[in-house]
């Protein structure tokens, strides 16, 4: 009963991101002529050039002079230590850039599109260190390849989140802790987690490590564009905590009342800890201590316990209630600078479940800090990953799939041999998501009962429109409905196809009955690996003209060569005839790329 709650609760954290304004270049120190502010940027998978649009909000680097001039690197005014940084970037074909945290530790930006096994020079890698004394060919060392290649096609927007902890030093300047990437997430895929860096990476602008330094973006190798640069620094002092006194009671005391009771034990402790409760259950322990806030601010408290408890700060109850230890209960309070008293009460009146007590404090600009002893709160039970892998044969796996907040119950995930994958709503004949890389995380289906029954994409997924792409209409204004009672799913057939590398694999052809015609929908990977080819065909006759919906988005742009860029997330390659070209239309505030289907078949490619 308690256990089921675990899934429902997610920790929330203080978010206070600052955006670097890109109205001009004033956030940067002496930017070279390579750097400009634009209104938008887009590209093409085969082009090393970014096409800018005039305006504000996008930072563009265009090589104006020679390559490899370090003066072209863009140095931020912002000097930082611990930081969470997130931004969007476009890397055109063959280009190369990088984000140096503190000007010292580089997360590589690189056109690594289609690369199967990324190295420490690929997109998202923590670039290697460099030491010429190691000997020729061995200079590079201690680089970290991303856990998987999550890079998108040249010209599309990538999103990266970097959570960085600066090295720390004692008063004499001796390093105490290494610099660390707590987490790096590229296009939704975790590519590094808790990686320590033993020194600065190659190309650092300072040879020595330090507590602060500017963000630096490489601007001397090729074109690159950025937008939505947001950060949060963790440089504010938090609080100090006095040793605590405690009173330990025994009995069923979930009402937290102890006025008439004498403690079984009382004493002092460095920190509050559940280890001081001797019994497994039927006890209450109360800690009293002082928090010295460094500055006046709103402080966020998080408590965890198995049983019942309360946190009282300066007489105000901050959190209270009966919970399981994995539930984080939060409450905040404005504290003046200086000393504050707190009382932490924890009672457990049932014998099952682990004892656990946690109290944490944080504020904007500081990391969350544990007030309780480290082992006072047990760690959650580890759950093994259950992964569906793809080898030389296509893997199909039905599951529930989340589409936004909706659980799609009749969905199938298809993983094709060259790492192209998609989720498809069988009831709807529509794509839910497409992605490249590792296929499916089935842990929530196949671990224990698998109560969520959700299959999750393991690569960088692009959300699609979940719509059946065909409609019979009298003119260009036919509506593609969200769901259609006229559509009847008939099953799928697996058809063998030989790829250019000789590999024979089977690919599904989904079959539907729709308004008197039979529809086939086949997806195959492009031999180039650049994307997925979709072929829709009909058998039979219906009334009206047949239209196909090729894409939907808030922005659809012609990228040339009959290719369309949809929201900077995906390209749609069309194959029009001389007389029949796809058109972009407005539909309830969204854009739709639609074409009349001449004959019985339509083919288009999704490139990402």
């Amino acid at each position: 009963m308690f256990k089921k709650l675990l899934i429902l609760l997610f920790p929330v954290s203080v978010m206070a991101q600052t955006e670097i304004p890109l109205n001009d270049l004033s956030a940067f120190k002496n930017p070279s002529a390579n750097w400009s502010i634009e209104g938008d940027a887009s590209g093409n998978p085969n082009s090393s050039v970014i096409t800018p649009k005039a305006g504000k909000g996008v930072l563009l680097c265009t090589l104006k002079g020679a390559k490899y001039q370090r003066t072209d690197d863009l140095r931020f005014n912002l000097e930082h230590g611990d930081i969470r940084l997130s931004l969007d970037f476009i890397i055109p074909k063959g280009s190369n850039s990088g984000i140096y945290l503190q000007g010292r530790y580089e997360v590589q930006i690189f056109d690594s599109w289609l690369k199967k096994v990324p190295g420490d020079g690929d997109c998202g890698a923590i670039y290697h260190r460099w030491d010429e004394t190691r000997g020729k060919g061995k200079e590079g060392y201690e680089g970290h390849a991303p856990l998987q290649n999550a890079c998108k096609a040249p010209g599309l927007w990538n999103h990266i989140d970097i959570d960085f902890k600066a090295p720390t030093f004692d008063a004499s300047g001796k390093k105490i802790t290494n610099a660390r990437f707590n987490k790096v997430v590229l296009n939704g895929v975790t590519i590094h987690e808790n990686i320590e860096l033993l020194g600065v990476t190659r190309g650092a602008i300072f040879p020595e490590e330090g507590t602060k330094g500017p963000i630096l973006i490489q601007g001397d190798h090729g074109q690159v564009a950025f937008k939505n640069i947001r950060y949060e620094v963790f440089d504010k002092p938090l609080a100090t905590f006095s040793p605590v006194t405690f009173d330990y009671f025994e009995g069923k005391l979930a009402d937290l009342k102890t006025d008439k009771l004498k403690p079984v034990k009382s004493g002092k402790s460095d920190k509050p800890t559940m280890k001081l409760a001797e019994a497994k259950s039927d006890f209450l322990i109360r800690f009293q201590g002082k928090i010295t806030a460094s500055e006046a601010d709103n402080y966020l408290f998080t408590t965890n316990w198995t049983g019942t408890g309360a946190l009282i700060v300066d007489g105000d109850t901050i959190t209270k209630g009966s919970h399981w230890y994995s539930e984080s209960v939060k409450g905040s309070k404005n504290l003046s600078a200086g000393e504050h008293t707190y009382t932490l009460i924890y009672a457990k009146d049932f014998s099952w479940g682990p004892k656990g007590l946690g109290l944490f404090i944080e504020r904007v600009g500081s990391w969350k800090q544990n007030i309780t002893e480290r082992t006072s709160l047990p760690e959650p039970e580890p759950t093994p990953l259950v992964e569906v892998k793809v080898s030389d044969e296509t893997m199909l796996q039905r599951s529930f799939v989340m589409f936004g907040k909706k659980k799609i119950t009749h969905a199938i995930n298809v993983g094709m041999p060259n790492g192209l994958n998609f989720s498809y709503n069988l009831n709807q004949g529509g794509f839910l998501q497409i992605w490249r890389g590792a296929f499916l995380d089935a842990t929530e289906m196949w671990y224990e009962r698998g109560e969520p029954q959700i299959g999750q994409a393991m690569g960088a997924a692009v959300t699609m429109n979940n719509k059946f792409p065909l409609v019979y209409a009298m003119d260009n204004n036919g509506v593609f409905p969200d769901s259609s009672a006229d559509l009847q799913y008939k099953g799928y057939r697996l058809e063998k196809k030989t790829a250019s590398n000789g590999n024979v694999a089977s690919y599904p052809v989904f079959m539907y009955a729709y308004k008197g015609v039979n529809v086939k929908d086949q997806e195959t990977p492009l031999d180039s690996g650049e994307g997925i080819k979709r072929q829709l065909s009909v058998e039979g006759e219906s009334t009206g003209k047949l239209y196909a919906l090729l894409a939907e988005g808030s922005k659809i742009e012609d990228a040339g060569g009959n290719r369309f860029n949809v929201d900077g997330q995906i390209y749609v390659q069309t194959f029009p005839s001389e007389t029949n070209k796809p058109f972009i239309r407005d539909n309830n505030g969204r854009k739709q790329l639609v074409t009349l289907v001449e004959g019985k078949e339509i083919t288009y490619h999704l490139i990402f």
């Binding site: 009963m1 308690f2 256990k3 025994e250 019994a279 497994k280 049932f350 014998s351 099952w352 479940g353 893997m395 199909l396 796996q397 039905r398 599951s399 529930f400 659980k407 119950t409 009749h410 199938i412 069988l426 009831n427 089935a442 289906m445 196949w446 224990e448 009962r449 698998g450 109560e451 969520p452 029954q453 799913y489 008939k490 099953g491 799928y492 057939r493 697996l494 058809e495 089977s506």
Partner: protein, 633 residues
């Protein structure tokens, strides 16, 4: 090679021991027989990289068997009978299905039930793999994990039937998706024809030789204990979840949740008020027989599976075993008895199908639902070895009692002794709560016995027969001509109705040897004050644990269906607290266990306290220093 030598030595040693044992025993009692002396479990070897979490089993006429799994694979197994000690060969026939829990073979195709679809799988290009996955029927789902779908089962006309679990939202809920909690028939156009509702967790169902549909139900809300019910169009089998859909125009019944009495009276009483409420043909008393009814098979093997032609074998997932059921029709309705049959399967027994040789394939999984068999999954065959077990073959209802038929002639002397038998009856509450304690337990005094000429039958003339009650018939004193006791000496007869007919003519001598004044004896609780410090008689407790079926879910040191007694001991309950928990279990105390314990109020207080004292003695042994904590309150 070393391994083989070792095995041989072991075999020789074992044989020597057996021989010695037999010599010793020849002087007094015959060797006690076990289930495996008659029914042998053969384990199919499974390649180490296959997670064969069986959901469905479909033997194929050519000698292969197809198996579908909870991970959505269909494996074609060649040489599954492992003839001459050979190994089976596994080919992946289909994959990617959504928790496939049922599989059937027909005319060259396999029919598989996924969560939301009945799919026909065909290999059209003869490469041994299905390449056509046709949607035969599809139905909505809410996304709740508990909305499992089972089947298909074919009838004689080639029509298919499916059963749909209700969702679990803290109780069984049917309204989240259409026809949850129903038995449906698949029409030729793929649409679903609702047949009957009131199903909670119908993992196993069967269409018997007479064309009647029987389904197995799992204890839960509105279901006091596991049971098997005959479903006809318009029936309501008890769980309220599916009633939401009776408002649909094609629903064959109009009953609503509000029409149900929810007062804990027996289902038999409720059925007098609610005419659509279908009584189970056979109850499988919770923990005394099984804990989670799964698949069933009718014995149509023409004797290949032993002496139980026409009877049924019913699996229990949690207890990794097969039980036996015999049905008769009284006044046109099925009722009958269940017996223990064979336990010891390797994992949670969910699916059974007859092999071509009359052996029984048993497919297993225990992921998420613990089972006595320790493996996470498995596939075994149950094979009759040709020897005749000494069993109660049938129990049939008579106007004045029961008639037991045995598989072997019995000793007349033992059979005529009234103390060879014990009969009592009880039932369960019908209410929205999860499960039920045993209620209204009473004795059925035995008035007399008539042994048939051929000594294969006894007619028991019994007092206090109660309609709607489960009658436990124990015949522990019966022996066969060799002095061998019954392999299983009890069964449970569900007496929904009492047939008319000729009354037994008891010989004068036995007419008054037992009287009606003992009726209430069974419910009279012997007040035993078990002092917490009294020495614990382990042997006696072992017998009690077995007698009250505690051991079907608990073991001393290991997790079975429920926690180990040693774990219970760690909770440091007093004996009285344990008593309270045995009578009113709190499953929330054990969130890591999938199966909730049933209330065991029928176990006498004195027995529970003895068991409790023994449980707590385990804790003392493990940690003597916790003594003071134990005595704190």
């Amino acid at each position: 090679m070393i391994h083989q030598v070792k095995t041989k030595i072991f075999t020789l040693t074992a044989a020597a021991c057996l021989l010695a044992g037999q010599l010793l025993m020849a002087q007094n009692k015959p060797k006690a027989m076990t289930e495996e002396d008659y029914y042998e479990i053969k384990t199919l070897s499974i390649p180490s990289d296959i997670k064969l979490e069986v959901g469905g089993v479909a033997p194929i006429p050519d000698g292969r068997v197809a198996v579908c799994t909870r991970r959505g694979e269909v494996w074609m197994i060649e040489n599954p009978y492992q003839i001459g000690g050979t190994v089976p060969h596994y080919t992946l026939f289909a994959s990617g299905l959504h928790e496939a829990l049922g599989l059937a073979y027909k005319d060259g195709s396999l029919y598989c039930t996924q969560r939301g679809e009945l799919t026909k799988l065909t290999d059209t290009d003869a490469d041994g793999k299905a390449d056509l996955y046709e949607c035969v029927a599809t139905w909505p789902l809410s996304g709740n994990y508990h909305e499992y779908s089972y089947g298909p089962v074919f009838d004689k006309n080639g029509d298919m039937y499916l059963t749909f679990n209700v969702a679990w939202v803290g109780y069984g809920e049917g309204k989240l998706a259409k026809w949850r909690g129903w038995l449906v028939k698949v029409r030729k156009d793929g649409s679903l024809e609702p047949i009957a509702t009131g199903l909670r967790s119908p993992a196993g169902f069967n269409i018997n030789a007479a064309g009647d549909i029987l389904f197995g139900e799992n204890q839960g809300d509105w279901v006091g204990s596991g049971r098997i019910t005959h479903l006809e169009k318009g029936d309501f089998a008890g769980n309220a979840g599916g009633l939401y859909w009776t408002k649909e125009p094609d629903s064959p019944l109009k009953l609503t949740r509000e029409d149900l009495p929810d007062n804990g009276e027996p289902m038999y009483e409720a059925a007098k008020k609610v005419k659509q409420l279908k009584l189970p043909a056979v109850w499988f008393p919770h923990a005394l027989m099984g804990i989670s009814t799964a698949d069933m098979l009718e014995d149509v093997t023409d004797g290949k599976f032993g002496p139980f032609e026409g009877q049924y074998f019913v699996l229990d997932q949690g207890q990794s075993k097969a039980m036996r059921m015999v049905l008769e029709k009284v006044n046109g309705k099925y009722q009958g008895a269940c017996f223990p049959f064979r336990d010891g399967f390797q994992s949670g027994t969910i699916r059974a199908r007859w092999g071509n040789d009359g052996s029984m394939f048993v497919g297993m999984t225990s992921r998420g639902w613990g089972s006595t068999g320790k493996d996470l999954y498995g596939l075994q065959r149950l094979v009759w070895n040709g020897r005749l077990p000494f069993e109660m073959k049938t129990i049939l209802a008579k106007p004045d009692g029961f008639e037991i038929e045995f598989t072997q002639p019995i000793s007349k002397q033992a059979a005529e002794n009234l103390s060879s038998y014990e009969l009592k009856s009880f039932t369960y509450k019908y209410h929205h709560n999860y499960g039920s304690p045993i209620i209204n337990q009473e004795n059925c005094p035995l008035k007399g016995v008539i042994v048939s000429e051929d000594r294969l039958k006894v007619r028991l003339v019994v007092d206090n027969l109660r309609k709607g009650y489960i009658h436990q018939v124990t015949a522990s004193g019966i022996v066969n001509e060799e002095g061998q006791p019954l392999l299983h000496d009890f069964g449970f007869y569900t007496l929904n109705d009492i047939p008319s007919g000729e009354l037994a003519k008891l010989p004068a001598k036995s007419a008054n040897s037992n009287s009606a004044k003992d009726v209430k004896k069974a419910v009279k609780v012997t007040e035993v004050k078990a002092s917490p410090n009294a020495p614990v008689d382990t042997k006696q407790v072992m017998a009690l644990l077995k007698k009250h079926a505690c051991t079907s879910c608990h073991a001393a040191d290991s997790k079975v269906v429920g926690p180990a007694f040693a774990e219970v001991a760690k909770r440091k309950y007093t004996n009285e607290q344990i008593l309270e928990l045995v009578y009113n279990p709190k499953p929330e105390n054990w969130p890591d266990f999938a199966t909730e314990m049933a209330s065991m109020t029928h176990v006498p207080k004195g027995d529970v306290l003895k068991i409790a004292a023994w449980i707590n003695s385990l804790g003392k042994k493990a940690k003597p220093d916790t003594e003071k904590l134990l005595n704190r309150d």
